[in-house]
């Protein structure tokens, strides 16, 4: 059932893309044909053999132009080389592997353009392949700038050429399925923001010491080549006859619980941009924190309430970013429900950070000790983040028509 709000309009912010017809004549081709007809008339009028010869040559060139343009695109296998993920506002390099399967004839001047999934990018990804010799492979690189987060399917691409003379333009479609997950925009995070976070030791919860730091003595282990000799436990080594090294504890990093509010205050571009900014801020903090070895958890609504426990690691980072990339906007599930659902994440050793498009925190937030509230529309909160100027938050939401968030 619809919520009464129109599906996300794609029209005004849709990426322009060009789809060539299978066979087309260029302006040059038209002029050439006109000249050819004129030459034929002149030859018939004057009966001059020279003109008949030239007329025949022009017909020959036209015919062979059609044949070659067809041959250039035939038996050309296209493969796409690109990473599985990208980030809004950060250029993505795509390579098209063009394998010419023809035994003898080369392929020249082929333009490769994505037909599906181009809404994910600022411009339709288009690459140009100069030449692929017979039975050779050529790589046509291009760069695309993602502008929408979410999962995008690149299903079809079009190869086209106007070789050899530019008279005839031919195009063929190829099915080539790939998916691209575009993460939200990642900005630089100010260190001042993390100063608001508290160490997990500051809480009352028991925390087990962890090895890997340089704080206090933790234990000993067998010395491995490459480790600093400074940590060799000489006494124990002398006693056992085996080199052993000391392990030290490390300070427990802050635990962060990112609470992402995706509730639109109103169904207008400003609200959407605010939500997108909130998601991008959360993603930036998550990326920055996880890179710095912190443990991060997540709670938000994306069709259902999603709670990701606080932990760290690359896999966790991918999972967290993937959820943020696919996170949907909604009209019903406000920050109050979010705080309610995030209770399982919150404890004394965890710093909760609420990212909200609303200008102020909900009343319940005042009762939560140590909650850091970052409003996407608050300039003070925005000051903690530095996003690329290319990022346009008003169009950064996923492009799937009728997002789940707009359903009750």
């Amino acid at each position: 059932m619809r919520s009464g709000v129109n599906p996300m309009p794609l029209g005004p912010i849709q990426t322009r893309f060009r789809r060539r017809p299978r066979l087309d004549f260029s302006v040059v081709g038209m002029v050439y044909i006109a000249l050819m007809i004129f030459m034929g008339l002149a030859a018939m009028n004057s009966q001059a053999n020279l003109l008949f010869g030239v007329f025949g040559l022009m017909i020959g060139v036209m015919v062979i132009s059609g044949v070659i343009s067809r041959a250039v695109l035939s038996r050309l296998r296209i493969g796409r080389q690109m990473p599985e993920t990208a980030v809004v506002g950060q250029p993505l390099k795509i390579g098209y592997e063009c394998k010419n399967l023809k035994r003898f004839w080369p392929s020249f001047s082929v333009t490769i353009a994505e037909l599906d999934g181009s809404e994910a990018f600022v411009r339709q990804p288009v690459a140009y392949m100069l030449h692929a010799a017979a039975r050779q492979t050529a790589i046509a690189p291009t760069e695309a700038m993602p502008r929408r987060r979410g999962l995008h399917a690149l299903d079809r691409l079009q190869i086209s050429t106007s070789f050899p003379f530019g008279f005839i333009k031919r195009a063929r479609e190829r099915r080539l399925h790939d998916t691209l997950l575009v993460y939200p925009a990642l900005g630089r995070v100010s260190l001042r923001l993390l100063m608001h976070c508290r160490s997990s030791e500051q809480g009352w919860a028991q925390s087990r010491p962890q090895s890997g730091g340089s704080n206090e003595f933790y234990g000993v282990k067998e010395f491995r080549a490459g480790e600093s000799p400074r940590f060799i436990h000489w006494k124990r080594s002398a006693r056992t006859g085996v080199l052993v090294s000391k392990e030290m504890t490390r300070i427990a990093p802050p635990r962060l619980a990112l609470l992402v509010d995706t509730c639109l205050g109103a169904d207008d571009p400003t609200s959407r941009a605010a939500v997108e900014r909130a998601i991008a801020m959360a993603a930036s903090v998550a990326s920055h924190a996880l890179d710095g070895g912190m443990v991060v958890g997540l709670c938000g609504w994306s069709g259902r309430w999603i709670t990701l426990p606080t932990t760290r690691g690359k896999r966790h980072c991918r999972e967290l970013m993937s959820i943020l990339a696919r996170m949907k906007l909604n009209l019903q599930h406000g920050p109050e429900q979010l705080l309610e659902n995030a209770r399982s994440l919150l404890n004394a050793s965890t710093t909760a950070m609420l990212f909200t498009p609303a200008p102020s925190a909900p009343p319940q937030a005042s009762g939560m000790r140590g909650l850091v509230v970052l409003s996407a529309v608050d300039p003070r909160a925005q000051a903690y983040f530095e996003f690329d100027s290319d990022v346009d938050f008003s169009v950064a939401m996923p492009a799937e028509p009728g997002p789940l968030s707009l359903r009750k």
Binding site: I59, I139, E143
Partner: protein, 785 residues
Amino acid sequence: MYDIRQFKPLLYLLVLLGISTYAYAAESPGVWALAFLAIGLNALLVAMDRFTPMPRWLSSIITIGSLLYVTTQVLHAGNRAILVVGQYLVFLQIIKFYEQRANRDYGQLLVLSLLMVIAASINTASLIFALLLTVYLFLSLYCCLLFHLKVESDGAKLAQSLPATRLSAAGMRQNQMKLSSSMRRLTALVAGASITVAVVVFIFFPRGAGSGMLGQFSIAAPMNVTGLSDSMELNTGQRIEQNSAVVAYVQLFQGSAETEGLIETGRPIYLRSTSFDRYDRRINSWFWRESQDHVVRSHNLQPNLETPVTATARRLGKSSQPSAAMPLLGENRIRQVVDLAATGSTRLIALPGVYSIKSQREVVVRYFPLDDTIQLQKILAEPLHYELICSGQNNSSTDVVANPVAGVFDALQVASGLKKNLASSVAVTAAAVDPRIHDYAMTVVGKRAERRHAGAIIDPVDPELAQAIEQHLRSKFQYTTDLTDVPAIAPGDNPIVPFLYEFKRGHCSFFAAAMCLMCQSLGMQARVVNGYLCDEYSSMGQHYIVRQSQAHAWVEVLTNKGWQTFDPTSSTSTTGGSSTGMWQSVRHFFGFLEYKWASSVIAYNNEHRENIVSELDKRLTDSAYKGSQVLGNARGTWQQLRSWLDSAQVLSMPAWALFGLVALLMPALAIALTAFIIGRWRVRRSARRMGLAALPAADRLRMARQLGFYSQMMQMLERHQMKKTPAQTPQEFSESLSHLRPEAFETVVRLTRIFYRIRYGRHEVGPAQHRHIRAALNRLSSVLP
């Protein structure tokens, strides 16, 4: 991004070749030298990286200014307008070279060069030009393909958002690998296919239809040739420049229509175009003393239809085709096949004694019976192929023997009312000639002149007198084309008088005019004939090559044997002029090619086309007929086989034979089936061994076939107690074999790499690589311990 480095040098080469082609066609070495100098300097500046493009505004001003100048030149250039346009195009190309900065300029250069070559091709039909044009077209095709690539790649470069620094240089290089060879291959394809289509269109496109539908338009600049002019002037103080341009190709056949054969002697021939019998010293010009309009007949020649032109021929051919009548000429019948270039004149060349004429296209000709010459109604602006039947002697000659004047009239079938006029026109009074010339003639012939009957039109002694004069001029006078040191003759003075008395040298016109006047001063009938003395015979092409330099003037004197030819020019010889030697052979070879080019390509017309079509039709019909015969035979054999099968003979085959046949077929079938199943099983087994079991069936089989070599290698290694453990990856396994001999170890590592490329890199092995792999496996088996 990509850089089409081959394009620029080729563009320079193409433009220079185009200019050379144009300069050849326009005979403008100055333009060629100037253009080469300017473009060479530009190339040098570009190569040294010191080139600064000319500002657009400056080049635009120069272009517009030169356009205005050229427009005024074109308006006054007449037939040479196209050459003026060509020169302008050369100039524009030079400007463009100094303005070059973008693809637009290169495109304009290509177009200008092509236009210039088209202008040149309108101006000439020479074979050498055609060869140059062919080379030019090939090069321009290559250049156009490269240019298109350059434009496209530059456009892609602009559209490409990826910065050049982030592009993989190695990848770019790899994409440009073999670019030149691919381009050459493609150029050959495009050229071959285009030329094939062009030849087909050229040969089979219907000729004649639509001719003149847009009005007649000719921009060709015909030659302005000597030897075909309607007047002859005698000027001193000048030098005649020799020109070796080809005017015509002439083939001669002798004999009756049934037995005619090619005349291959290479003997010099006199090809007549015009004649003059009166000199007017007031205008210093020779002309025909009386209008022939009242005896001239116009003939509208239909294409390839033989038309009699003389009265005798018409009379003989009244009841039948002219060619049938021609055998009356017997072995004296000569057929001339002439390919005449666009001469810009109305005159046609022919041997004397013309009976009939046949032209390849419709033209109107006028035959002048009094001097046996032929003229076109319109100026010849395009090459003309025509044939003439003639006797080799003046038409009037045989009749004149008995009654000279009456014979001429009878032969001409002129109305009796005109006889008086003609009689008066033939008679030339000696009084009309300068007395000093008469005096000189008398000193030459001496007392022999007294034997001549005064007032006789023809006298038996005339040949003797004419021969004496001819010998005198030949022996006592010098031939030269340079009369710059001889003072110009004052208006009204007869130049022959100083020629005879003072400077005693000159070119053929002086000699012919002097002899003609000397004969006329003695009361003889004589005339100067203009035309060509052709002594260049190509044994390869079996034709005479008529050049402008062979333009000549000689004298015909009316004797009791008819009009006899006398050539008083001292340098001319009747002993044959065909020199031999390597150079001459080469020249004749080119002459032959040129002739073939002119006759087969330039003069290609509807008749040729119909001949080819009918020949093709005939051959296709023959082939179809033969094919149907073969099919008929095959069908007959099949019918025989069927009838044999249907007959009781098969049924009557003994049971043991049938059993034997089945017994043979069944095991063969079983073997084939088993082999197929075993093959599939082996492929599956090797797929399983290589861990391909998880793949879809089609991929598994394809991959197993592709990776068969790896399975073989593993089996080979297993036989030598080297078995891969399940925990090992293929790479780890190959690296664990370092204890093997280096060549064996390297082979294993290399094959393992190939395995990876196929298995995970989407690489496919071609037949050639399979062969290499098999060879590597053989080597491996031989080096394993």
